[in-house]
């Protein structure tokens, strides 16, 4: 048992004000980093910590910062707070309850990367959280933790809270950059990667809220000490958002490598009385589903990847045995169809056709052959687009069809028996039927 790191004292009243935050030892690590350490030393600590990005891809944070060129040019740090992955709500909690922790992490991260302009791109739906961040920003500026020569170190940093306007794709890093530049949020071709050419064509470090809020703690205990938490390949703690058919949905901080059963049954209470876990998404709705038999997997990046899924944003969605898998698949596909930006053909068309085929399945118009076609469509989306939105639909749908093929086929049969004309009340009645009955 260890103490929570990000959620330490999270429910303290008024933690979002600078008074309470500094009373609890806030901004001390900012002072330590900026006044006693060089940017290289901060970067060394981050690299030693083994911290991996918490937004979905799990890329080592220290390595990402080290890609930022050292030249004396405008560099940017963007905090990705466009938390739109279905099932994920950890960043919301952090920004709402502890906005100063995020600001402290941003300043230290920018110091390590040499960035002097930073942005928080927060999704437009988070109105309350954006207001809290705006208020915290003013407090931090007034206290001298942001702006010109922070704490007399000669390091300058400006911070802007930028509100989005509702687009899932803007959580993708290059889509986010386009959106932040005031365009439609279409992803860009990579390379060049944002570390070389990102916002306004300058080197840009993009990190998730949770990643940045972890940085002050790494400075406090040191990278080597942080690396001891969790497993060898997945260091540290993770906020896990558990939702769906569980008794106690919510955010829980766990050490990486905790058995998944501890999270779903121990913390979140498991599915409602008398039901069983049918399948669960280990990392948001984009992750391929896992079954009840996978519940004993340790919850870390590598184990889940080996199991054919991913840790993603750390959002566990539990689906119990009362829910038809086709309903979940259709819901999912419709969401990705709506959110596809339309730039790449495989994603734009693939999501549309997947929805059409799932609707056929649901309406009893499909044959088992349609399932093969559907699976082949998913195969053709994966890896063929600029960003992973299409993959994010293709992977879970593909895994559902593969793991629940019997249920899909049974669903088709049941729907056809219930609804032989493809509609509950054929309008107008087909003339051929009348002829047949008359004869």
């Amino acid at each position: 048992m260890t103490d929570p790191i990000l959620f330490a004292g999270i429910d303290e009243p008024d933690l979002n004000t600078i008074e309470v935050y500094t009373r609890r030892g806030g901004y001390e690590m900012l002072r330590k980093a900026l006044t006693t350490m060089t940017p290289e030393e901060v970067l060394d600590e981050l690299q030693a910590s083994g911290l991996r990005g918490r937004g979905g891809a799990g890329f080592p944070t220290g390595k990402k910062i080290s890609f930022i060129p050292a030249a004396q040019i405008d560099k940017y740090l963007v905090c990705n707070a466009d938390e739109s992955e279905p099932g994920t709500f950890k960043d919301r909690e952090l920004m709402q309850k502890s906005p100063h922790l995020l600001i402290e992490g941003i300043v230290i991260g920018a110091y390590a990367a040499g960035a002097n302009r930073s942005f928080i791109y927060i999704r437009g739906e988070y109105v309350e959280q954006a207001d809290i961040l705006d208020a915290a920003l003013l407090e931090a500026e007034a206290a001298g933790y942001l702006g010109e020569s922070i704490l007399g170190s000669g390091f300058n940093l400006s911070l802007v809270v930028h509100r989005g306007a509702g687009a899932y794709i803007c959580g993708e890093e290059t889509g986010l950059l386009d959106s932040l530049e005031g365009k439609r949020g279409n992803p860009r071709l990579k390379p060049p990667f944002p570390a070389n050419q990102g916002l306004y064509q300058g080197p840009t470090l993009i990190n998730n809220v949770e990643t940045l809020t972890t940085i002050p703690h790494i400075i406090r205990i040191g990278g080597a000490e942080y690396a001891k938490i969790g497993t060898e390949s997945s260091a540290g703690t993770k906020l896990v958002s558990v939702s769906g058919n569980v008794q106690r949905p919510g955010n829980y901080e766990v050490e990486l490598g905790t058995p998944s059963r501890d999270i779903i049954y121990g913390l979140a209470g498991g599915p409602p009385e008398g039901r069983r876990v049918k399948f669960w998404f280990p990392g948001g709705s984009s992750a391929p589903v896992l079954l009840e038999s996978d519940l004993d997997l340790p919850y870390d990046f590598n184990t889940l990847a080996e199991a054919g899924s991913m840790l993603g944003s750390g959002a566990i969605i539990v689906v119990d045995d009362s829910v038809p898998v086709v309903d979940v698949a259709l819901k999912l596909a419709k969401f990705y169809k709506h959110e596809s930006c339309g730039k790449c053909t495989p994603c734009r068309e693939g999501t549309r056709w997947t929805v059409s085929m799932l609707e056929r399945v649901d309406a009893g118009l499909a044959t088992p052959m349609d399932l093969d076609i559907m699976a082949s469509v998913q195969d053709r989306i994966i890896g063929n687009c600029l960003c992973v939105l299409g993959d994010a639909m293709a992977m879970p749908i593909g895994s559902m069809v593969a793991k629940f093929r019997d249920e899909f086929e049974a669903h088709i049969e049941a729907a056809r028996a219930r609804n032989p004309f493809g509609d509950e009340a054929p309008e107008p009645p087909p003339p051929l039927v009348q002829g047949a009955v008359g004869a």
Binding site: P86, E93, E125, A165, K331, F335, G422, A436
Partner: protein
């Protein structure tokens, strides 16, 4: 294959021939998309006096010249709106970054991104209206059609729909049917699956919303009072006191053996704890 069926559909009816049900169904569905809930055809919105409501997501009118940057002399802009947009523009190295905040501000002033709203934002930002239309039409929260002033977003994504969001939005639509002040939308995941099924009422998250609470919620929105004050997200504790932990205030670790239902899935220890909310804060 589809083409062949189409041709067959044109042939005269084959009397007294029983066509298999699947084939008949396929012919019929060629006319409209399959599925229990076909996409409704959007009717052209019209004003009471009959003329069409202009919207920016209409097809391009190729007979018109492309719009230029609006002339400040002929485009009156509310000083308040102008000041707000200019403040946003000053925050960024490139003024175009302020496109979304400017459109959001214009939408707050005008109720939606109307042609006037976009022209005014374009006039202040020195951009063409076309550029801003391209931005406005991309984002869900920027309305390119007239909408009611009370934005009620109901999350209908996976987690919420597992907890009954589809029935909830149905109920809210019934309750607000015919009220033009309401803009009830099924929205993408709003990032509050812990209070599923949830509703965002003009940016205020409330949940879990029971079907029996919908009339109260709708009344509160109409009155302008805080929606369901005891169910607002900001009052929710981050750490659930009911979560089974060996030591309160700690978290499970990689090394701990898991005592939770190892043999019997579905049997979590202890009674399920309801979410405990602190007493509601009285506002106004």
């Amino acid at each position: 294959m589809i083409g062949r069926r189409k041709r067959r559909a044109k042939e005269p009816a084959r009397d007294a021939v029983v066509v298999p049900a699947v084939e008949r169904a396929s012919e019929e569905t060629l006319a409209r998309p399959p599925g229990p809930d076909p996409i409704p055809q959007r009717s052209v919105p019209r004003f009471g006096h009959g003329s069409r409501v202009p919207g920016w997501d209409d097809a391009v009118d190729l007979t018109k010249d492309p719009s230029q940057i609006p002339d400040p002399a002929t485009t009156p802009v509310d000083p308040e709106l102008r000041a707000e947009i200019e403040a946003h523009m000053a925050k960024y190295p490139d003024f175009r970054s302020a496109a979304i905040p400017a459109l959001a501000a214009a939408q707050r002033h005008h109720g939606w991104c109307s042609p006037e709203a976009i022209e005014q934002a374009a006039c202040v930002m020195r951009l063409t209206p076309g550029y801003l239309v391209s931005v406005a039409s991309f984002y869900d929260m920027l309305e390119t059609r007239p909408v009611g002033r009370h934005a009620v977003y109901v999350c209908t994504n996976i987690s919420c729909s597992l907890c009954g969001a589809d029935a909830l939005i149905e109920r809210i639509r019934e309750e607000t049917a015919g009220d033009p002040d309401f803009n009830v939308r099924a929205f993408e995941c709003l990032g509050a699956c812990d209070i599923a099924p949830m509703v965002s009422v003009e940016g205020v998250y409330v949940g879990p919303v029971g079907l029996d609470e919908v009339p109260t919620l709708v009344r509160q929105v109409k009155e302008g009072s805080p929606p369901l004050p005891d169910k607002q997200l900001r009052l929710r504790k981050s750490t659930d006191p009911g979560a089974a932990r060996a030591v309160p205030g700690t978290m499970p670790t990689a090394g701990t053996p898991h005592p939770y239902g190892g043999e019997m899935p579905g049997q979590a220890p202890g009674p399920p704890a309801a979410i405990e909310y602190p007493p509601p804060e009285v506002e106004q």
